[in-house]
Structure formats: structure tokens, C-alpha cells
């Protein structure tokens, strides 16, 4: 599955990794929905981001998690289409 947008937040730690992901996903959702690829190099974020997204009102779908190198991961997350 091909991503609609890429969010490269290498260098960021929690909770900023989650905040940036959340806002990007919402912006995507309000502009018709799509798939966001998130690149992180802070391993705890790989579990924290999906877990925090589950407590959101909007339901996002974690499609894939890929380990790129020792600390770098790519998450594919789907945002539904939302009305403002």
C-alpha cells in the first residue's frame, strides 16, 4: 500500500512523536483521508504511537510496521475521511 504523505520525525521523542503523528493524521483525515508513513528513530515510539492512537475518538488503522535499521522504524497508518 502506498502512503499519501510522509512524516519524518527522526530526532523526536515521546510524547512529541505522538503529537506530530496525531496532528498529521487529523489533517489528512479532514482533507479526505489517506495513509501516513511515519519515520521514527526512537524505538519506544513504535509501541507508544499506536497505543495512544487507540485512545483517540477517531479510529485509525495501523497497517504496517517496518524496521529499517537498528533504531529506525516506519509505521504505516490509515486515516479515515472526516468532516470538520
Amino acid at each position: 500500500m502506498k502512503e499519501t504523505e510522509v512524516l519524518d520525525i527522526r530526532g523526536e521523542k515521546c510524547p512529541n512523536t505522538f503529537v506530530y503523528t496525531k496532528i498529521k493524521l487529523e489533517d489528512l483525515a479532514y482533507s479526505g483521508g489517506g495513509i501516513l508513513k511515519v519515520i521514527v528513530d526512537y524505538p519506544p515510539a513504535v509501541e507508544n504511537i499506536p497505543r495512544s492512537l487507540k485512545t483517540e475518538k477517531v479510529s485509525y488503522k495501523l497497517l504496517d510496521v517496518k524496521k529499517v535499521d537498528e533504531n529506525t522504524y516506519e509505521l504505516l497508518i490509515e486515516a479515515p475521511s472526516l468532516k470538520e
Binding site: P15, N16, F18, V19, Y20, K22, I23, E26, D27, Y30, S52, T55, E56, K57, E84
Partner: protein, 271 residues
């Protein structure tokens, strides 16, 4: 209008809240709010609106800073004494959050000018401490159909209610007439402590922020009465009055006589 990375970082601790995000922050950013009074209530109200990222805040106050203000009005220091309050507050708030616009309106709110002065806002938050102005603000907001977030403090009692035009009771639905002048002591006569105005002002600001962000608010048709002697928080259910002279079927101007209030007005500081 999307959020910049700096904005996302600045507001990140509120953006992590499950019911608050991009849409809610952008709603705050495009909101225009008037705060009547830059005193004991106006300081916490305008500070929390500023911190939350409300895009434009107009502060209306005609007073100058006095040494007796400094036990509760935390936007001012001794160097501000005799300076125009609204201007000093606007400068302090702009320093806290340069991303937003804060305007000082150095004017007295009266029954004659309130209807024009309080037009075109997404919300008005009332931090005034006297009945002529409080009723002027209520009636203007009812006629202009602008949501009004009321608060008042006297000694250890504080009150707050949120007024949504066409939906909830307004201040005049609950209190159709002002008490006779001199019946209710003002702050200087009765005393007030800063933590108390901070408490009520914070509640007003929180209700305003949640309303602007399109979230549910708790003080619709509800008068919250806090008694800090016993730390009791009581909620009184309110209903609209069809024959209310402010928000009812027919508007009837009813200015509260400022002349009658001279004895209080002459001695009072802003709450």
C-alpha cells in the same frame, strides 16, 4: 489554515488530549474573544485564553493599575502602577504568546456603548465587578447573539455560568433586576483573595476554550456556586424565561442606574 511545527510543539500538551486535536486548535486560532475587565478575573481569563492559543483577544478596561490590585492581578507589577491596565496586560500576554493577537481597548463599558463594543465576537468573557456593566454586557450579548461566560467573586464565594444565546438562560433570566445599590458590597468593601479570582477566572476560561473548540460545556443552564470556606461546589439548574427582557421574545432596554450605584462605584476597585 494548518498549524506550524512551532504551534504543534507549543500546544502539544493539550493536543495529546484524546478529544482535542488539529481541528480544535485551529478553531481556537480563528476565534475572536472579548474580555471585559482586565482585573482579578480578567487576568486569569485572558492568560489562559492566551496560553491555549485563542487567535484574537480584545481586552476592555479603562482603569489604571493601582497598588491595591497587586494581591490578585498577576499580570502587573509595581512598575505598572498608574499605567493603563489594558495596555500593560496586552503587552504581558503578547510576551507569553507572540503567536496570537491581543488588543487593548481602553474604554469604559456602558449600556450605551456595549451593544456596539461587543459585536462580532465568537465569545465574550465577563470579568467586571459591578452591576451596571454586568447587565450591560449581558443584554448586549443577548441582543448580539454572542455567547457570554459569566463569573463573579465576593469574599470566599464565587459563581460562574455559561450563556449560549437562544439555547440557555441568560444572566437576566436568573436575576431580572440588579440588587439595590449598596446591597451587595463590592470587592474593596468585602475583600477578595487572588486565589479565589484565579479559581473562577480559570473556570470561565476553560468553559470558553471548550466552547470555542466545539466541545461540550458543563455550565449551560447551570449556575456554579463555589464556597471556598467549605470547598463546596454546587450546581443550580436554570431555565430560560420567555418574558426575559434581554433574551426573551421582546427585548426591552433596562440599563442599571449608574447614578444609584455612585456610592459603590466611587469606592470600588475592579474585582
Amino acid at each position: 489554515m494548518s498549524l506550524s511545527l512551532d504551534e504543534i510543539k507549543r500546544y502539544s500538551r493539550q493536543l495529546v488530549l484524546p478529544d482535542f486535536g488539529s481541528r480544535e486548535q485551529r478553531r481556537l486560532k480563528k476565534s475572536k474573544v472579548a474580555v471585559t475587565g482586565a482585573g482579578g478575573l480578567g487576568c486569569p481569563i485572558s492568560t489562559y485564553l492566551t496560553l491555549a492559543g485563542v487567535g484574537r483577544i480584545d481586552l476592555i478596561d479603562m482603569d489604571r493599575v493601582d497598588l491595591t490590585n497587586l494581591n490578585r492581578q498577576f499580570l502587573y507589577g509595581p512598575e505598572d502602577i498608574d499605567k493603563v491596565k489594558a495596555e500593560r496586560a496586552a503587552e504581558a500576554l503578547t510576551r507569553i504568546n507572540p503567536e496570537i493577537e491581543v488588543n487593548a481597548i481602553n474604554e469604559k463599558v456602558t449600556y450605551d456603548n456595549a451593544f456596539d463594543l461587543l459585536k462580532g465576537y465568537d465569545a465574550v468573557v465577563d470579568g467586571t465587578d459591578n452591576f451596571p456593566v454586568r447587565y450591560a454586557v449581558n443584554d448586549a450579548c443577548a441582543v448580539n447573539k454572542v455567547p457570554l461566560f459569566h463569573g463573579a467573586v465576593l469574599m470566599y464565594e464565587g459563581r460562574a455560568m455559561s450563556i449560549i444565546p437562544g439555547e440557555t438562560a441568560c444572566f437576566r433570566c436568573v436575576f431580572p433586576e440588579a440588587p439595590p445599590a449598596g446591597m451587595v458590597p463590592t470587592c474593596r468593601e468585602a475583600g477578595v483573595i487572588g486565589a479565589m479570582t484565579g479559581l473562577i477566572g480559570s473556570i470561565q476560561a476553560l468553559e470558553t476554550i471548550r466552547y470555542l473548540a466545539d466541545q461540550e460545556i458543563a455550565l449551560k443552564n447551570t449556575l456554579l456556586i463555589i464556597n471556598a470556606d467549605t470547598m463546596s461546589f454546587d450546581k443550580i439548574r436554570l431555565t430560560r424565561r420567555e418574558n426575559c427582557t434581554a433574551c426573551g421574545e421582546k427585548f426591552v432596554p433596562k440599563p442599571v442606574d449608574e447614578v444609584c450605584d455612585t456610592r459603590i462605584a466611587a469606592t470600588e476597585g475592579r474585582s
